[in-house]
């Protein structure tokens, strides 16, 4: 690519995308300008990834057209898009650990010389790209063992190798810490100064405010608005994304009882140290912290999914030994795991079978698990949680929101003493989110102690009686509802 990258515009008009009866993008007009950063915001399922996939040539629109500088741009695939100067950096980085950094950067287009891979040339180019971004790395070393953040930087270097005119960043900071995110933002700054047009997709609204020149908001596949970054603040962005004020913020959760149902003391393992807290009946404890801080590891140990090396757990005043999930279930501690598709549900099995799985051996210790048993279970849970869809079909066919409800139903067949929810509303649409918050509140009213691990600060602050902040595997704070302001929580989370 020898053309100058200044003054170029990628323009998409009327982009529509459907999956069967479902329209995920409704006639979107979107543009990227050279030397400028567009922040693309929207809730999960709003269509951000779909739009960027279409621009990067990964998916084809059903309607609409794109141009670059007025010339038709119709990429047939990601490689074609790259040749036209459009690169995308994905959320989930897939590198091949056994291959070197340089080989990963040139995957699919290794330079050859007379039938052999031109390794030296490849390494030289790779090194140049990495240095350009300020990354100190030997391109010959294997990728295995490098942190996610470093892999992300390699990915960025890979994308800019061909000097693209437009680069799309799809949630680059989702799995990064504070410092690493700063580096990414600096690299985007470098790109901008060179005249590259950047799209930055993120849920972290402060980053959007920091880096973007323009903010473009999608909701339910429609464009909500487009503003110069200086003209819109955080509250404004949230309102645009969600379509309403987060009024729930001020609804007080029901008052917990005095009885202490669970005590955790000095819980430690390789990933976290000395976690202690008490839970009362009907209390909702939020667990906040940055990605990678150790929140999931802590609750998994409590739920028996991972072993812990020190500390005690007591339920209703009595010490319990938790060495397996089965032990935890016996003690009344249940966990709804983070990833419902790979950890929570067997997608091939029906919803009814998924719901009954933990309970068959406990509710039918001597007899046969009959269709009647499954049907009764099914009817009860469908009613209790308002699950829509046929529960006798494989659960993988249900919508994200209903899948999450099935997963919750699985753990509410029996009333737990302590229910742990790890990212309960991830990948769930707005309507189902509300329903899940209702369910959590109802559980608290019934006397269940709920632990909610969530990366959405608003959600945690809205739901919890108290907030435990974890950073670097350590318990930094246990804040009351009044003390838990977004600023304070963030402060503790990055300490």
């Amino acid at each position: 690519m020898t053309e100058s990258t200044t003054n170029r515009v990628l323009s998409a008009k009327g982009i529509t995308k459907r999956y069967g009866a479902n329209t995920v993008l409704h006639s979107i007009d979107f543009s990227i300008e050279a030397g400028s950063v567009v922040g693309l915001i929207g809730e999960n399922g709003a269509g951000k990834s779909t739009l960027s996939s279409i621009i990067a040539g990964i998916k084809q629109p059903d309607e609409g057209a794109m141009t670059i500088d007025g010339v038709a741009y119709t990429p047939t695939g990601p490689l074609d898009a790259l040749n036209s100067g459009v690169a995308i950096i994905h959320q989930e980085i897939k590198m091949i650990p056994e291959l070197s950094v340089a080989e990963n950067m040139f995957l699919g287009r290794l330079p050859t010389h007379r039938g052999r891979v031109a390794t030296r040339q490849m390494v030289t180019e790779a090194r140049a790209a990495l240095e350009d971004l300020g990354v100190a790395l030997d391109p010959r070393r294997p990728v295995a063992g490098l942190s996610t953040a470093t892999q992300q930087e390699i990915e960025i270097a890979r994308a800019i190798l061909r000097r693209p005119s437009f680069v799309i960043f799809d949630e680059p900071s989702a799995s990064l810490g504070q410092d690493e995110t700063k580096r990414v933002l600096e690299q985007i700054e470098v790109l901008r100064s060179r005249g590259t047009g950047v799209v930055y997709i993120s849920h972290r609204l402060d980053e959007i405010s920091a880096i973007a020149d323009r903010v473009f908001c999608l909701r339910d596949g429609r464009k909500v608005g487009e503003w110069p970054s200086a003209d819109i603040d955080r509250e404004g962005m949230i309102r645009a994304m969600v379509g309403r004020e987060l009024a729930l913020r001020n609804i007080e959760p029901p008052t917990p009882e005095d009885h202490v149902v669970a005590t955790v003391e000095g819980l430690s393992s390789g990933r976290f140290e000395d976690i202690s807290f008490e839970l009362r009946r009907g209390e909702i404890l939020g667990v906040s912290g940055l990605v990678g801080a150790g929140r999931t590891e802590i609750v998994r140990s409590l739920a028996g999914a991972d072993r812990f090396t020190a500390g005690t757990v007591s339920v209703d005043g009595r010490r319990v030994r938790i060495r397996s999930v089965s032990d935890a279930i016996g003690a009344g501690i249940y966990m709804v795991p983070e990833d419902r598709k790979t950890q929570g549900l067997n997608l091939n099995r029906t919803s009814a079978e998924n719901i009954s799985l933990p309970w068959e051996s406990r509710l039918v210790p001597r007899g046969f698990v009959t269709t009647r048993f499954l049907n009764r279970l099914k009817k009860r849970m469908t009613k209790e949680l308002d699950i829509r869809g046929n529960l006798d079909r494989p659960v993988g066919l249900l919508s994200g929101g209903n899948q999450q409800k099935v997963l919750l139903a699985k753990w509410l067949v029996r009333t737990p003493k302590v229910l742990i929810l790890d990212e309960p509303t991830r990948g769930v649409d707005v309507g189902a989110k509300e329903a899940i918050y209702e369910i959590i509140r109802d559980l608290a009213t019934q006397g269940v102690a709920v632990i909610v691990v969530s990366s959405e600060l608003e959600e945690v602050l809205m739901l919890s009686h108290r907030v435990m902040v974890i950073a670097g595997g350590r318990q930094k704070a246990l804040l009351s509802r009044a003390e838990a302001t977004p600023e304070r929580v963030m402060q503790m989370a990055v300490s």
Binding site: N22, L357, E360, F368, V369, N390, L397, S399, G400
Partner: protein
């Protein structure tokens, strides 16, 4: 498909391949009884009865059942292992070795035969347990662990007697293989009993049902409170035990302990029966009924080809072709072709 999928946002659920595979699994489960393999079996029987006048005679049909009975007993155990998501390559070798132990303790150590039988069964279960431990706790892949025990058992079998068979087993034992009720041998009833009991356990008991969960996604099963490792030990031990039972059946029929009993073609027949019957080697799919039909297909094929004077060397070729047909008709392969068209995750 009877009902079209409503706007349940399948876009949110992942790849097109997953959706197709799920729907095929749905259709398959609806047709549980009237399955592809059963239709195949019926067709085979019809065709063979035309091709050979001897085929459809009661004598011949009973013969088929008798011939496959020991394979069937092993196949029941293998089905459980495969649904669990594993594989057991050692079953045939355990068949031979466990009965060799029976014969050696009886003949060379002078133990009462009933005790020898118990020891043989214990050895079978023991080897199965070793498999289970290697796989569950040693984190060794099932293929490798059971391959190792297979070699070990085969070797030990030959070592115990220096390769010579052991004769002189009690008459009543040989007599067991002659007992007939309603014209059908005892071993056939034994096989059927194994299938029925295993089938009921698999379908209705929580422990049996958990095999499907473990085979579908071991982590999900574990996080659901299923004691996965314990289940693995149980199932592999059971497979070993059933292999030892099959060893008794073979031993009674031959009236000798042959070091060559339980060879690789037996192993292949066992796995073929399970796969033709619709179980997936990836785990989470399968049934006793399916394996039974698969077993019959193999028995009928072998029998029919022999009656038609087809060279015995060609018989495995035919079985191989049938296996491929069986897997192709398992929707999973079709959905793999569709996977190439890209994903529709948002």
């Amino acid at each position: 498909m009877a009902t079209p999928v409503k706007a349940d946002s399948p876009a949110n659920t992942g790849t097109m391949a997953t959706t197709s595979a799920i729907r095929v699994a749905q259709v398959k489960s609806k047709l549980k009884i009237l399955s592809g393999p059963l239709i195949g079996l019926i067709l085979l029987i019809v065709v063979l009865s035309f091709l050979s006048p001897v085929f459809l005679t009661p004598n011949n049909l009973v013969n088929i059942l008798v011939q496959v009975s020991y394979i069937g007993i092993m196949a029941a155990g293998a089905t459980l292992v495969i649904i669990l998501g594993g594989i057991d390559l050692s079953v045939a070798a355990v068949l031979g070795f466990s009965f060799m132990v029976v014969a050696v303790t009886y003949q060379n150590l002078g133990w009462p035969f009933w005790l020898s039988i118990l020891v043989g069964l214990a050895v079978g279960a023991g080897i199965g347990l070793v498999n289970g431990i290697l796989i569950a706790y040693g984190n060794i892949q099932p293929f490798i662990a059971t391959l190792a025990t297979m070699f070990a058992a085969t070797g030990l079998s030959l070592y115990l007697t220096n390769g010579t068979p052991i004769l002189g087993l009690p008459d009543w034992f040989q007599g067991l293989s002659q007992i007939r009720w309603l014209g059908i041998s005892l071993q056939v009833y034994l096989m059927i009993a194994v299938f029925v009991i295993a089938g009921l356990w698999l379908r209705f008991r929580p422990a049996g049902r958990s095999l499907y969960a473990i085979g579908s996604n071991e982590e999900v099963a574990r996080l659901s409170g299923i004691r996965v490792k314990a289940m693995q030990l149980r199932v592999y031990a059971l497979a070993g035990f059933l292999a030892a039972v099959a060893g008794l059946v073979v031993g009674a029929r031959l009236n000798a302990a042959q070091p060559s009993a339980g060879n690789s073609s037996d192993l292949l027949a066992v796995i073929a029966a399970v796969v033709i019957g619709g179980a997936s080697l990836a785990g989470g799919v399968g049934s006793m009924w399916g394996t039974f039909v698969g077993l019959l297909i193999i028995g009928v094929l072998n029998n029919g080809l022999t009656l038609l004077n087809v060279s015995p060397h060609l018989q495995p070729v035919v079985i191989g072709a049938v296996i491929i047909l069986a897997v192709l008709s398992d929707g999973r392969l079709f959905s793999m072709f569709r996977r190439g068209r890209g994903t529709d995750a948002h």
